[in-house]
Amino acid sequence: MTEIAQRSFFLRNPSVLVFLALLSVFTLAVTLASEATGFGWMSTSFVKTLGKTLCLCLIAIAMDLVWGYCGILSLGHFAFFGLGGYMIGMWLMYERTKDIVAQSLQNEVLPPTPDELRDAIGTQIFGVVGGSDIPLVWTFADSLFIQLVLVVLVPGLLALVFGWLAFRSRVTGVYLSILTQAMTLALSLYLFQNDSGLRGNNGLSGLQNIPGLTGVSQDVISIWFFWASALALALGYLLAAFMVSGKFGSVIRGIRDDEARVRFLGYNVEAYKLVIFTGTAMISAIAGALYYPQAGIVNPAEIAPIASIYLAVWVAIGGRGRLYGAVIGAAFVSLLSSWFTGGSAPDIPLGTFTIQWTDWWLVVLGLSFVAVTLFAPQGISGVFDKLVRKS
């Protein structure tokens, strides 16, 4: 029975197989082009950019689940992404600092006491915010396992509490979106404070250096993270496809289209929303935990409300209510965005006036969002679907 069900899952969802095949080909191509494992055609920094893009695709899938399928326009999922980054960042930074401090103290006559070691680590990490005490939130920072658990637990718990309060009071639509923005803003402002215990606006840095792997060069580490991101995206896509393909998907789409009707069928709509909201927050957090070691730094600006709005824009442009639409949107827009804002796009001189893409890209993005909303509500993937059906 389960075997039939599993086989028919792929039969019923051929696009999942297509997606996995394309992702594998892409991963292989990058592997062969990278400096560490291939012919070196591709710079390490570009491998990192692509790895990060895969993480953005993963959070876009989460966004598509919560918004495109369940109709909850959350403008706060990037907060969970950032929190995931912070949770893994704490371990990365603490352990690496510990290694450095231990090394610099090893030539002392007397070996350092644990207290001295702790003080030295505290000064190293929190000197920038004028402190040397290790805050309480760093209690488990020396345990990779616990911090990995916290990656999903902390954002998951935040989403659970927030969602429970909001959904129980039947806050929906624009009001819910505003509430999620408020949550994001509050979190980001809190993290900006020096006494938040997470280094204020400095954030956590040096995350690209993996403790215990000092001998391994960045080109190798970048390809490992790229592989991990590809694997996470593949698993995330499978999970999302599993969720939306069966009866569960039917119910959440029903909630999106007419939640009162779903209630009268006997479904506890609030429970479903809570499961989706919390589950996608956890997926976002995992994406963030893979993203920030590749970015090297996580700071409160990453959690700014605008980031979550961009996420919604990607999914809208890619096409919501389709998993591959979310992936296309995130990949396309974020890569294009880094091309334009990275200064690679040639400026366009117009006589007295020059279009500088670093400034004008946002205008283009804004206009394309408006255009998509007006003329192609199904996004890029909708246009794509039409072409496939015609041929």
Partner: protein
Amino acid sequence: MTTLLEVSGVSVSFDGFKAINNLSFQIGEAEMRAIIGPNGAGKTTFMDIVTGKTRPDEGHVIWGDRSVSLLKMSESQIARVGIGRKFQRPTVFEAQTVRENLAMALKNARGPFDVLFYRKSKSGADRIEALAEEIGLSNQLPRIAGTLSHGQKQWLEIGMLLAQEPRLLLIDEPAAGMTPEEREHTTQILVEAAKTRAVVVVEHDMEFVRRLNCKVTVLHEGAVLAEGSLDHVTQNQTVIDVYLGR
């Protein structure tokens, strides 16, 4: 016959306007009941109260053998104890197929994780086929519900109601927008359903009510005006006055 639903002394007002005024109503197991009354009499509001959509200002709504109060339950809990509802305007999930609509309504565990790990079963598929047969949509199962005709949507909604296997069906204007043949078929489905459960039908069309051949409750200004056989209530002078607007 034991009482399945007992509504007593219920009142509700919207901005000072009393839509339901000290209404009392009872229905037993396996009973068919028609509710008639002029526009704005409070028929839909009555259903809103029973299904938990509207909370009354006063009164009691008691359900089942163990006499539990429905007033403390959420809409979804009320649906799960066995009350199904068809809305005045057909409300099916237009973006989904007929089969998906029926599958969602099928009586099964309703929790998020039960549903997530729900596996399609032979018995479920058979049940959907049987229901589709009953509502005349057998060869429309893969069709997107939004593309059905108005009458077919009404039937699909009735089918979803039957799929829930409720003990009480509340049906608001099932025959609106149907052809005479479709009405005939709808009557059959309802009469059949009332053999094993309670069915409350709100309808304006007297011909339709006559064919249901059941006890009739007349609502007016949020209260019961008369109750009895259709002939009995239509001979009642106050009922005639209300309908003629005197």
